[in-house]
Symmetry: C2
Subunit: 547 residues, 2 copies
């Protein structure tokens, strides 16, 4: 019927590593014009600038003529021919196509099926690739396949790589058992109205009731030191899409964020995969207890600018992850000064705001803004209910922004990441139960503190010291004395031994862009107290074994 397309002839660049290439359709043109422009733009003067292209074109003409000859000959095959399938996603068993043979239309299906497969997009091919490059995911997946269980799988891998809090789920279960049915189906107005609210379309960025409840909860977590306006909130299906949407809103493809490192390994995926935004790690150092350094930010900013990279924001986590610090008010003021001077944004990921086990009081950037009278339109907070409430399965994230355009765009983009109505109803009821929330936060804090102290003490038995930390579900452990070489390679090797010999999955500093080898993030909130001696036993297999 018609000639087959050449859609398949564009190989995806990611699957087949090659030197950076010009787009295929502008390739020849650019290969000629780039050197010529150099000549034209001043180097060589008028005469050379005219004679050189003249000579170049003469030879080019000869070359093209000889190269074009075959294709200029009359087509030997009739118009309806099979295109050559050059899709490298095709199964290796695909036979070469019978190029040149005509096919009758009714036969085409059977003939074509095994021969040519359509490309997926190059970006999908990149995302689909196995995550072998990130040990964070490799370990996580190995653990999923062989998870430790005291009774069912006592030799399984112990999960210290996942920031999930299982210390206080009994409290959540209690609440749900008492209140879930009423929250879902009871309500003030039973019957038709209630089911309508449950099943029909809701605002994609969250119902007003749910926004109010979340804003109230955020205030309660911060001990009412600041209040959040529900109209400045967009709710999403997890902090992950909240971060992605915010990145989409603050930066265009090719722009970048400065990120003090070590940082949460998920950001590389959550932010970079679809938005085209780059992350520039700004190293913090153990000698400084991994505190954020403004001069380092300054240097990174200047370097990025020199490279032609446009920095659109500084991205921080507060409390920090993996280092578990609570940022001081002074640090926040310094950061706000920095972003104000550069006229860029500040994104503060505060998902662990209510998970402080140390003595410090958490200070939200929102609180500093209130008191310091700083331009608010550059400050954006990401929050969620996966940490301070142990409900990662509920998938609730929060964008809180003082920037009207960001809120307007995010609210629209929330259509891709909405929280389901049953979940909104359950959580609206739970978050509005102030007494329950207060009890939960208090009890959980005490349990976290106890586990943290036990766990850090257990690591000390192994000669492993942790950085000072006061927040989060993890400690930041210095195992550099156990690495065979002070390098990325040494760290990788220790991580692998911990995973395969000790059967303990931890997150290597490498995955967090830590520039000092030998540091590991160990989550302790997935454990019970009885697990701790076992972790020590297991790790001794490595720390006491041959290096």
């Amino acid at each position: 019927m018609t000639r087959f397309s050449r859609a398949s002839s564009n190989p995806s660049p990611e699957t087949n590593p090659a030197p950076p290439r010009l787009k295929s359709d502008e390739g020849p043109a650019m290969r000629i014009i780039v050197p010529l422009q150099g000549v034209v733009q001043g180097r060589g003067g008028l005469v050379l600038g005219s004679l050189l292209p003249c000579a170049l074109f003469y030879f080019l003409q000869l070359y093209l003529k000889s190269r074009n000859r075959p294709s200029q000959s009359p087509p030997s095959s009739p118009p309806t021919t099979l295109s050559t399938p050059d899709d490298h996603h095709a199964s290796p068993s695909s036979p070469p196509s019978a190029s040149g043979s005509t096919i009758h239309r009714t036969l085409s299906r059977g003939l074509l099926s095994p021969r040519s497969h359509p490309n997926v997009s190059s970006r999908a091919a990149a995302v689909a690739r196995p995550d072998e490059d990130s040990l964070y995911y490799v370990g996580y997946k190995k653990c999923l396949r062989d998870p430790f269980h005291r009774v069912d799988n006592p030799e399984g891998i112990i999960q210290l790589g996942l920031a999930e809090n299982r210390l206080s789920q009994d409290l959540i279960l209690d609440w749900l058992e008492k209140n879930a049915y009423g929250a879902l189906l009871g309500g003030d107005r039973p019957g038709e109205l209630n089911i309508m609210g449950l099943t029909t379309y809701l605002p994609f960025d969250g119902s007003d009731n749910f926004k109010n409840a979340v804003a109230g909860f955020m205030g309660q977590v911060l001990q009412e030191s600041v209040s959040f306006d529900p109209s400045q909130i967009v709710l999403t299906s997890g902090a992950t899409p909240a971060m992605e949407i915010l990145s989409f809103c603050l930066a265009d493809p090719g722009n970048a964020f400065l990120v003090p490192s070590p940082y949460y390994p998920g950001w590389d995926r959550d932010i970079k995969w679809r938005t085209g935004v780059e992350l520039v790690p700004v190293p913090c150092r153990s000698t400084d207890n991994f505190n954020i350094s403004i001069p380092a930010l300054e240097r990174a900013y200047t370097q990025a600018k020199k490279r032609g990279l446009k920095i659109r924001a500084v991205l921080i986590a507060n409390p920090t992850n993996p280092t578990g610090h609570v940022l001081s008010r002074d640090t926040l003021i310094d950061l706000l000064d920095f972003v104000t001077e550069k006229n860029i944004h500040l994104i503060s990921d505060e998902v662990f705001a209510g998970s402080i086990h140390g003595e410090s009081k958490f200070v939200s950037v929102a609180e500093v803004l209130e008191s310091e009278g700083i331009d608010k339109t550059r400050v954006h907070i990401v929050y969620g209910l996966s940490k301070d409430l142990p409900l990662p399965g509920f998938r609730v994230g929060v964008i809180h922004s003082y920037n009207e355009t960001v809120i307007a765009a995010s609210a629209k983009l929330a259509r891709f990441s909405s929280v389901s109505a049953p979940t909104q109803q359950l959580l609206t009821a739970m978050l509005s139960d102030k007494q329950f929330i207060s009890n939960y936060l208090g009890a959980n804090r005490q349990r976290m503190r106890r586990m943290f102290l036990l766990f850090v003490d257990a690591l000390k038995q192994l000669g492993i010291e942790c950085a000072n930390s006061e927040a989060g579900f993890y400690c930041w452990a210095d195992m550099s004395r156990y690495i065979t070489s002070y390098s990325e390679k040494g760290e990788k090797k220790l991580w692998e031994k911990l995973l395969t010999v000790a059967k303990v999955n931890v997150t290597p500093g490498l995955s967090c862009h830590c520039i000092e080898p030998g540091w590991f993030r160990c989550c302790f909130t997935t454990l019970t107290e009885e697990d701790i001696p076992l972790v020590v036993e297991r790790m001794k297999r490595v720390t006491q074994g041959p290096k």
Copy 2:
């Protein structure tokens, strides 16, 4: 940045025919090289082929030299200066920045705050803009602000613009009242294990149980004419993100899909906003009962290719939306032939597969694939639980693909659009209740049929004929006799009168890229039977009033 702005300024060929344009970044190079290549490739011979470029370059050089002069002057401003706010979205009251003045650091906050605001990304600015350009959204929003209610707001706007089914929600409520608690908290293994499944991290693309239940439900909807493999399913928070993720996977920015029109107005937003994929409407006509035309697809494909636009897929809805057709097996085979010959993909949106009120049997593209032995890796189905089950608030969408790379990438991208665990648990129980589903589908079909007939009959009383349709929550009504001019303008005017005078919100064909003016999509499943005479009364205000 450029991608987004170009996307919005790139008119689809049918709506705004314009000469094909070169991409802005390759413009100057191509403008020079294209004529030169003509010379080089044989016309004019060796001498002319060398002298002509020579002359051209001489003048080009003169031109560029004079043009480059200003930018070659040294920068006059010191390195540490206030950046000029180039945000065109900043409030109009923002005074120009004190460009060139250096600022002391401690003073910066006070000085800077009122003067410069940070840019948001250009793509966010585009998304944040009011939806004034789409009457579909304008009408929807007006209706939200003033919704009709028989008792509370009898003069409110009647919503015929939203494809939501409220005819059978009582059946869902019954089921939930009996089963919700058990589904959420009972289960086979009560206590800790159950709460773990509810609150902890689950696979982002859906638990195995949920995938099994959805695959079973899809088979049941198709009366077991085909079975779906759960491993080829990715679950997302709504069909909207399912479509976006699939588009991301099948096309790179600047690629396009062919879409028979009129089509669902949401696609322009769901697909184009973030993926950078273009939609090329391929008009269907009333004389052909708006059937899909393969020759029209051929023409559109060829035209797109001439414009340098890479077509990666044909996107269809089956049953069609807004026209309510069930595509015949022959049409599906023709479409499969077309995409196979072009070596592109086929996306079939089958969200209304179980919402047939006519006599035809629905045939899924999956069924045709099974029987015809066609290469499956190019065929992808989008499904959801917002139509065939009336649960749009539950936000559940499905990507079903036979392409391993698409499934692998989609499963990872589902982290941005996950279904919450409570919703998964509720629905796993509901979808596994085969008897309930069977009862629901049967009863709902009868209720839909009755409402469709009543509604079409009511429109007939007004002299409005509907296109033949057998599926969906809407009819496709020809109101061209009531438009004052046979044009877009006439259609808009009638739509506005219906909204403001009759206070009835319908979707104009314009929003669906219908090229014939005067057609409107009217959803009847948001109504009760008693509402129908009222709709007739209301519409008479326009049809019997002065034109």
